[in-house]
Amino acid sequence: MIGQVLRPVSGSGEGLRRLADALETTGRRLADTAGTLVFLRDRAVWEGEAQRLFLSRIADAPTLLGRATRRFEGAAGPLRRFAAVLEEEQRLATWLSTRHSSACDEILAIENRIVALLDSGREMGDPQVETLLRLQRDEVAVMTESEARHAAAHARVEEADAECARALRALAEDDIADSFFYRGTRTVSGIGHGLGYVGVVGQWSPHARVAGAVGDTVGLGGDAVLAVFYDEGDWAQIGSDVGMAATGVFGDGLRAGAKLGATTKADGTVVSAAMRLDDRVVGGSIRAAKDRLREARDSHRLNPPRQESDVQRRPLPQRPTVGDRVSREADYRRRQMAHEYRLVSAGGSSTQKMYVAGASLSAAVKARETTQKVDETAGLVDRPLRPTTTGGLEDGRAEPTGPDPRMSPGGPPGGR
């Protein structure tokens, strides 16, 4: 049709290929991670209670990673095949569109010339007019053919697109797909799952639920909540050691998550990026994990196993008294939390609640640890969170018997 512009074929073959490459790389990385976890599960680098707990936490992760790998790696092939068709037909469609446009212009130009000839007294049937009419019919044929071929190119792209979509949808049919209910809930409430995570903490320990409730109801600042829970003084009774460690990790994650996206501007005001609560919770867990890993790495650098000669030359470090440590730590934590609370306040009341819950849990663990240390100093109890089956080497009070030759940094013999 004259004046019609043939629509371009949307998409990018190059973009699809890059996407396929990225998905394949991600899939490989997920597969590697699954492989690492399987290796840890089947040929662990350590043995003992900690390993047993670690393996129990691996749980379904390798399987889920395998599913995700299938999604990512599986998508690469269909996307590349679609990219090849798209690129070829896109080139053809662009050429046909230009050709169609030129033909339309030519048809209009010829039309104007014919009108001019007729206006000048020429009749239909005049050889010059007839020649122009023949040329015009040729251009109309070019235009029509371009439209048909363009439509066919679109049809081939649509077919390739449908085939690719079918393959992708087939890959999406597995047991890691979000449930209908989950999708509905996410649509209805943007904060439902974030609050759900906090609810999980409450299920783990009734005391944790109290911690959240106190923070919620009283609306205290983080430092005040910390003081409340330090003063409570009976956290030794809360949950099992493993349970406390778990809630402590979660508490750190909640606090870190609440701060995510909040930045201090040059004028001192705090702004918060728009992040969903569940994103904040997971992001906070990851940040807490990375911080702890960094601490472990730093600690390794700062405190490598000492050579005997070094140990002989240096005096033993004086341990601060329990009172000093508790007081210093409490002061530091209060200052730190006052700053953190200012950051999370930018995120609104939901973020504040999440932070208060996290701070309370962290405080609970801290208080628990402090209680343990006091008891240790008094020689009343062992450390239940640390293995005590290594001959009492942890607290240095038991008689040293020399390093176990199996604990070499080069790894265990026999490939375990």
């Binding site: 998409g11 699809l16 998905l23 991600t26 990385r29 991670t33 690492t36 976890l37 680098v45 350590w46 043995e47 900690a50 707990l53 670690f54 936490r57 992760a61 599913r67 995700a68 999604r71 990512f72 998508a75 996307l79 792209v157 697109d161 449908a162 079918r166 992708l168 999406a172 797909a177 979000d178 999708r183 996410r186 799952h193 990851i286 807490a288 994990a289 990375k290 702890r292 890993l293 601490e295 472990a296 790495r297 600690s299 196993p305 000492r306 005997e308 140990v311 002989q312 089956t389 080497l393 942890e394 240095g396 040293p400 020399g402 176990d404 199996r406 604990m407 940094p409 790894g411 265990p412």
Partner: protein
């Protein structure tokens, strides 16, 4: 008696790797942003379904991997501390 066979630095290295993957999973971008490449057909929505509609498991997996990474840091650090204290204890015994 528990027997430890440890390469603590490797354990921490594994933890770091797990945390990195966790971060990658958690920060996975919005697949709708790839529409410019997929075009206006069905591939775009299908890709969003494939990459985006396992968010619940993805975030849970990210959280689990982060927790495993953190556990590795704790365990690796604990072994390193133990090693250091063993050496320390030997030095003290020699004085």
């Amino acid at each position: 008696m528990t027997i430890y066979r440890v390469d603590a630095e490797s354990v921490i290295g594994v933890g770091e790797s797990l945390a990195e993957v966790a971060e990658g999973l958690a920060l996975m971008g919005d697949p709708a942003q790839e529409r410019w490449a997929t075009g206006a057909g069905d591939t775009g929505p299908a890709l969003e379904e494939l990459l985006g509609a396992w968010r619940h498991v993805r975030l849970a997996l990210a959280k689990d991997l982060a927790a495993l990474g953190e556990a590795a840091a704790d365990v690796g650090g604990l072994y390193l501390d133990t090693e250091a204290e063993v050496c320390h204890g030997l030095g003290r015994g020699a004085r």
